[in-house]
């Protein structure tokens, strides 16, 4: 009987889990016959079995619930929210009884008459305006026979000769609510699994020793059985490892019900979208993240999602959406909990921070928005205006964060006012099985999680791609992109015996960043169990764990994220820590926006590019019109003399083509022309300029259309036209020598903006970050206006504006925001923090106009 009861409990637990989800689904789609049948079948099974086991209390509840469901199924009653609520209540009651059964082996005492009465009321159609009310007692009477019909099930299988009776038995079972092929599961304590794991590891070692012995000795009688033993051992090892893994969906099973109940309670419409439920993780980790996840979903439903009225007023769909997304990423599991609700209210967080004395106003002003949002992880921090029954009691996110950190995870928050909030949880695969690539560098073997590996490239050797060098950094031209490379041996301070010339490049992706890791050799892929490194090694961020390979040797697992951070490849991904440490070694300046570039050829065969926005006009000048004045080519252009600069170096009239292509850069009524050989194309490209190996006149190289292309340094070429040519002019220009401070992290844009406004007669000082700008202020530097980029690592433009407006010598200076994107919300935000004007990058005319206006009108701080 005990075994029978245990089986029943396991089965019922599963049934109940499925019921919650199915009922919520049913409520949303009342006409879904399949779901309805599933629900009915589960409840029917529970009722049937507990009648058989003599669990009368549970049977009564299940029976009453079944009546309601039966009428839903027959179509004599409409599915309503209140009806489902009552059924869910019955499920909860059954769950409580099951819990009692598990604990004591007997049904706990209790009175369910109220619940049964309300179920019966629903079944009889009370409070539901459906005319056709049949006699409520009838289904009750009808439902009894299956219960009494249950006993035959336990009758021992018919004697073997009675073959004809055998088929009738199974066919009767499903009708009687017998097993609907539930997944066969048993409960095993974790200790048993751990013990198995240990034994298997030992077995593997012994197997390896045996194999070693058999290889040395000539006795071949053992060879074949040993081989079999070896295979079986491997399979066993794999099997035991898998016993520890569970899909994350197990931790989510209760969420649909939770969200549904919250929605009803709070009067909100909420949809729950769960993706990646099959992502497997270690059951231990699963247990630990279950509660934090539930808490975050509850938070989203309570604080995040607005009421339907608010949502409609905000122009959003009436139903809010909570999305859960789990995926593997480079040796971690990423779980995102996102809602499309009202987002975090930065202003309220700020006030709360001030009120609780967690930071001063000045500190807050210097903080990027992300930092401010992170205050919600502080203990006792809740911005909920009212404490509801659901959340807002000031315990919460800090507990979530602590729990995540306890298992070595991290949590990030991204939020946009009015648009929603997303929490991104990153948990290491403490004990998860991953497929890993085994590589060798500097004589040591390492594992690289396969998830981060995009492809393997053999370099050097016949017909294989070659490593190229720009100054000291190695790059690989792979199809149409220039791939930054990291040498694993030197990164790990190992001596590399093999030459780089014949190596392998493991192309790795971390978030949006792709880079190559140079290794000496590549072995095989292997399924490994990730084990955390000892605490004294936690600071070595290059490793995400270690593992024992099939041959028994210990091997370190590389963390591509750590490598990216350490080398600066992924430095701008928003982590920021690397930058703040001053360890930034960014190999590339990147701009997320696409820029129209003019491609041309001049001098050598390497294509060259210049942002189209900088060029005033393209001209074809006849050779005869080009004059020579004091060794300098000139052309009469629009009634003035325009100096021409040969981009290819030396220029000789006799060698020139009949029609000379010229890029005209103009400024006011002045102009200068760059002579090129041929204009190739105009393309829209993401600019990723590699500044290494630059030569005068060029900012660096980028890959466009599969070709290495040199990016023109406009400022340098403008100077070639004769510094005094612009300088002399500047005196009469609007700039009039006004001093401008330019804060811009990208060298590329600095090089664009400086000549643009320098040419207009302003004296420009450029700094690479906001901190440097503030240092200049402390040092007493004097400027007439400040132009600042918005998106910068570390302190961003908004924070800089707040810091400047707060006080100090530059409090009243005009402050112009320079940005890649200028949507209305951004502009308003910029004005709110104190920017005087907002100008898009590349719009030189607008920038000059803005400067002129700012400097001529008195500014009110």
């Amino acid at each position: 009987m005990d075994d029978l009861l245990a089986d029943f409990l396991t089965e019922t637990q599963e049934g109940l889990g499925a019921l919650d989800a199915a009922l919520v689904r049913l409520e949303r789609a009342p006409d879904d016959i399949a779901t309805l049948s599933e629900v009915f079948r589960i409840v029917h099974t529970i009722k049937g079995t507990c009648g058989f086991l003599g669990l009368t209390r549970m049977e009564g509840v299940a029976h009453a619930a079944e009546n309601v469901l039966g009428r839903y199924r027959d179509g004599t009653l409409r599915v309503t929210q209140s009806g489902i609520s009552v059924i869910l209540g019955a499920i909860d009651c059954i769950r409580a009884i099951v819990a009692g059964l598990e604990g004591t082996g007997a049904e706990p005492a209790g009175n369910d008459s109220a619940l049964i009465a309300s179920l019966d009321a629903v079944a009889s159609g009370e409070a539901v305006p459906v005319p056709a009310v049949s006699v409520a007692a009838k289904p009750v009477a009808e439902a009894s026979p299956p219960v009494s019909a249950a006993p035959p099930v336990i009758v021992a299988p018919p004697p073997t000769p009675a073959a004809s009776a055998a088929p009738s038995q199974p066919s009767a079972e499903p009708e009687a609510g017998g097993p609907n092929a539930p997944p066969q599961t048993i409960r095993v304590t974790v200790d048993v699994l751990e013990g198995l794991m240990m034994l298997v590891s030992e077995l593997v070692l012994t197997r390896n020793q045996l194999l070693q012995l058999s290889r040395n000795g000539a006795d071949s009688a053992f060879a074949v059985p040993l081989q079999r033993l070896s295979h079986i051992t491997s399979d066993l090892q794999e099997g035991v490892m898998k016993t520890r893994m569970q899909p994350i969906g197990n931790a989510w099973a209760k969420l649909p019900r939770l969200v549904r109940d919250l929605g009803v309670e709070l009067g909100k419409k909420i949809e729950l979208d769960m993706r990646g439920a099959e992502t497997e993780l270690d059951r231990q980790v699963l247990e630990l993240i279950k509660d934090p996840l539930t808490h975050m979903v509850r938070n989203s439903a309570d604080h995040g999602i607005e009421t339907p009225e608010q949502r409609i007023a905000a122009g959003k769909p009436e139903a809010g959406r909570i999305m859960l997304n789990a995926s593997h990423e480079g040796g971690h599991i990423i779980i995102e909990i996102a809602d499309d609700g009202r987002g975090l209210n930065a202003e309220r967080i700020r006030q709360k921070v001030l009120a609780q004395g967690l930071a001063t106003e000045a500190e807050l002003a210097a903080m990027p928005e992300r930092e401010i949002q992170r205050f919600i992880f502080r203990p006792g921090f809740s911005t909920a205006a009212a404490v509801t029954a659901v959340s807002g009691r000031g315990v919460g996110m800090d507990v979530v964060k602590t729990n995540m950190e306890r298992i070595g995870g991290t949590i990030e928050v991204r939020s946009k006012d009015g648009r929603g909030t997303a929490f991104v949880v990153k948990i290491p695969l403490t004990l998860a099985i991953v497929s890993a690539l085994i590589v060798e560098a500097g004589g040591e073997r390492f594992a690289i999680p396969q998830i981060g590996v995009v492809e393997l490239v053999r370099v050097g050797g016949e017909g294989a791609p070659q490593l190229e060098r720009i100054k000291n950094s190695a790059v690989l031209r792979l199809r149409d992109r220039l791939l930054p490379l990291v040498n694993l041996s030197s990164l790990l301070h190992l001596e590399s015996p093999a030459k780089e010339e014949s190596a392998f490049v493991v192309v790795t992706q971390v978030g949006p960043h792709v880079f190559g890791i140079i290794v000496d050799r590549v072995f095989d892929t292997e399924e490994i169990v990730v084990k955390p490194v000892a605490p004294i090694l936690r600071h070595v961020t290059m490793f995400s764990g270690n593992t024992i390979l099939g041959d028994g040797s210990v091997i370190m697992i590389l963390d591509p994220n750590g490598i990216a951070r350490a080398t600066g490849v992924g430095a701008e991904s928003g982590e920021g820590e690397a930058e703040r440490d001053g360890k930034r070694q960014a190999v590339a300046h990147r701009s997320d926006q696409r820029t129209a570039l003019l491609l041309f050829r001049a001098g050598d065969s390497t294509p060259k590019a210049v942002p189209l926005g900088l060029i005033a006009r393209l001209e074809d000048v006849e050779r005869e019109r080009i004059e020579n004045a004091g060794g300098r080519p000139l052309v009469q252009y629009r009634g003035k003399l325009m100096p021409l600069v040969p981009l290819g170096g030396h220029w000789e009239q006799s060698m020139a083509p009949e029609r000379q292509p010229v890029l005209v850069f103009s400024d006011g009524d002045r102009a200068m022309g760059l002579m090129v050989d041929e204009i190739l194309d105009v393309v829209e490209e993401h600019m990723m300029i590699d500044g290494a190996g630059e030569r005068p006149g060029f900012l660096g190289t980028t890959v466009i259309g599969g070709k290495v292309t040199e990016m023109l340094d406009t400022a340098w070429w403008l100077r070639q036209a004769g510094e005094d040519w612009f300088g002399q002019d500047a005196q009469q220009e609007a700039g009039n020598g006004c001093r401008i401070l330019l804060v811009e992290d990208s060298a590329f844009f600095r090089n664009l903006v400086i000549p643009a406004i320098g040419a207009a007669g302003y004296s420009v000082t450029a700094v690479a970050d906001a901190e440097e700008a503030l240092r200049l202020r402390e040092a007493g530097a004097v400027f007439d206006a400040i132009i600042s980029d918005i998106a910068m690592p570390g302190m961003d433009g908004f924070a800089l504006a707040r810091a400047l407006r707060e006080g100090g010598a530059w409090r009243d200076l005009p402050l112009i925001a320079l940005t890649g994107r200028a949507d209305q919300a951004d502009i308003e935000r910029g004005r709110a923090v104190g920017f005087t004007d907002y100008v898009t990058k590349f719009d030189r005319a607008a920038l000059l106009e803005s400067l002129r206006q700012c400097l001529s009108a008195p500014v009110v701080g």
């Binding site: 794991m197 030992e202 040591e444 004294i536 600071h539 070595v540 091997i555 370190m556």
Partner: protein, 164 residues
């Protein structure tokens, strides 16, 4: 298997070590690190292993010699010579013995040149560290015992593992 039981030169002593410890005595396993006799409390020790294959760990603190596999568990090896500021093992040494200890659920192996015997030592005879003792040693030692002509330094496992 690679696991070995300690092969002390005096089996009698081993037997004595197995007797219930007198409250006035502490039982130590003696090890030699660059000719210095050290003692580790027997109760802290999980295993004593012969020479093991140790995987180097790049970028780890110098004291960390690497990691090794003990029946499916990964053990971090601490080189006692380096930890105690002694010169590295000479070339041709037959390899270090591993004394495996546990701390916070993690296993560590203390690499010693030689593992000696199990000795019960009267607590009353333990002398405090001499004030002139090297600071590194003073930090990891809880006292000194006289064993015949030699001095035995009592090693505090917690402290020796406090690296970085």
């Amino acid at each position: 298997m690679q696991t070995q039981t300690t092969t002390g030169p005096a089996p009698g002593l081993l037997a004595r070590g197995g007797l219930p410890a007198d409250a006035a005595e502490d039982i130590y396993l003696t090890l030699t690190v660059a000719d210095q006799l050290c003692g580790v409390p027997v109760l802290a020790i999980r295993d004593v292993l012969g020479v093991q294959v140790i995987t180097r760990i790049p970028l780890a603190p110098a004291e960390v010699a690497g990691s090794l596999n003990l029946r499916g568990r990964i053990v971090t090896a601490i080189d006692l010579r380096c930890r105690l500021g002694l010169p590295p093992r000479p070339e041709g040494h037959r390899g270090a013995m591993s004394v495996v200890v546990e701390r916070d659920g993690e296993l560590y192996s203390l690499l010693a040149d030689q593992v000696g015997e199990v000795l019960p030592l009267p607590r009353a005879e333990r002398a405090p560290n001499p004030v002139t003792l090297d600071t590194v040693w003073r930090d990891v030692s809880t006292g000194v015992h006289r064993i015949g002509e030699r001095l035995l330094i009592v090693i505090d496992v917690e402290r020796i593992l406090a690296i970085g």
